[in-house]
């Protein structure tokens, strides 16, 4: 039931952010909607530790600036290849992921795809591997050197010690 409470609070926060009209009627409807949505989501089984990775959600702001900087850098790299397509040297590489939870692994894979130049093609949950398609050798090396892996592991740190 704890997940329902947390989800209700988050959903009500989203309602408050979207609404912009704070009359008692709309606030009551918002609270009811948040509760109803959370109960239905619980019924759908989407409110487990994968669907509501609280630790990762709350620690995401720590890496925001870093990921924006990475995205801008790799954007310039890809634009250079687009100007001269002969520079493209596509590779498929396997990246080892040090995450322990599915949500952490997904965050890692999405960060890899979010930086242009690398796309995660396949995510293997059992072997903790991500097969990555990189546009050039440099992009592949940047993904494989483990700095992104360390950042994402930092995000899910307390979840591991807690369980």
């Amino acid at each position: 039931m704890r997940s329902v409470y947390v989800s209700t609070i988050l959903m009500f926060g989203l309602w408050l952010a979207l609404s912009g009209h704070y009359t008692p009627l709309l606030l009551a409807l918002g609270a009811l909607s948040a509760l109803g949505v959370s109960l239905l989501a619980k019924r759908m089984n989407v409110l487990d530790e994968e669907g509501l990775p609280i630790g990762i959600l709350f620690r995401l702001p720590r890496v925001t600036l870093w990921i924006i900087w990475e995205i801008l850098k790799s954007n310039l790299g890809v634009i250079r290849v687009i100007i001269a397509p002969s520079k493209a040297a596509p590779q498929l590489v396997t990246v080892l992921a040090g995450q322990h939870t599915a949500a952490g692994l997904v965050t890692h894979a999405n960060f890899i795809t979010l930086t242009p130049g690398t796309v995660s093609v396949q995510v293997d949950e059992d072997r903790n591997e991500i097969i990555v398609h990189g546009l050039t050798q440099e992009f592949c090396n940047a993904t494989k050197d483990g700095s992104m892996d360390a950042k994402v592991s930092l995000l899910e740190k307390r979840t591991v010690s807690g369980t």
Partner: protein, 163 residues
């Protein structure tokens, strides 16, 4: 699509948010773009995402067909009931001003109830349509399989030979 952790986790994160957005559109129909029809479609989209990612079978367990029937009829009853209520209060059908002493609050309440009825009906009809179309192939294959089994049980005759 459930075997891919990325799609699974992101769908789990998104589904409650989509449902809350649908309810926000539902109840803010008189402030911005939106209203009952759009809200119903968005709510159905959340259920469609659930069915596409986690399978139609599970979606039918979460949202059984009788919910659709109940939703369709409850929506129509709510719409018509609001109209009849205003008639009982001594005004024309769906003349909201008679619902309350304060005409502005009465207007607000009437629109809210009618729009909620529309949203309920639209969401249920959309989900029912999706269930009907998406389950069609499964249904056809199952029928074909039973026909094949009956044919092998009764010797060499094919279905249709009996007639």
């Amino acid at each position: 699509m459930q075997d891919d952790p990325v799609i699974r986790v992101v769908a789990k994160v998104l589904i409650p948010a989509i449902m809350l957005f649908a309810l926000y559109v539902q109840f803010h129909g008189d402030y911005g773009p939106g209203g009952g029809f759009q809200a119903g479609v968005i709510f159905a989209a959340a259920l469609v995402l659930n069915a596409v990612v986690f399978g139609l079978h599970r979606a039918r367990q979460v949202w059984p067909m009788r919910y659709n029937l109940m939703g369709v009829s409850a929506g129509v009853v709510l719409y018509g009931g609001t109209g009849v209520w205003s008639m009982l209060a001594g005004a024309n059908y769906l003349d909201y001003f008679a619902l309350k002493a304060d005409p502005k609050a009465a207007q607000h309440l009437g629109i809210l109830l009618v729009e909620f009825g529309v949203g309920l009906t639209v969401a249920s009809v959309m989900v029912a349509l999706f269930f009907a179309f998406a389950g069609r192939l499964t249904h056809i294959r199952l029928v074909a399989k039973t026909a094949a089994h009956e044919a092998t049980d009764s010797g060499t005759s094919r279905p249709g030979d009996a007639a």
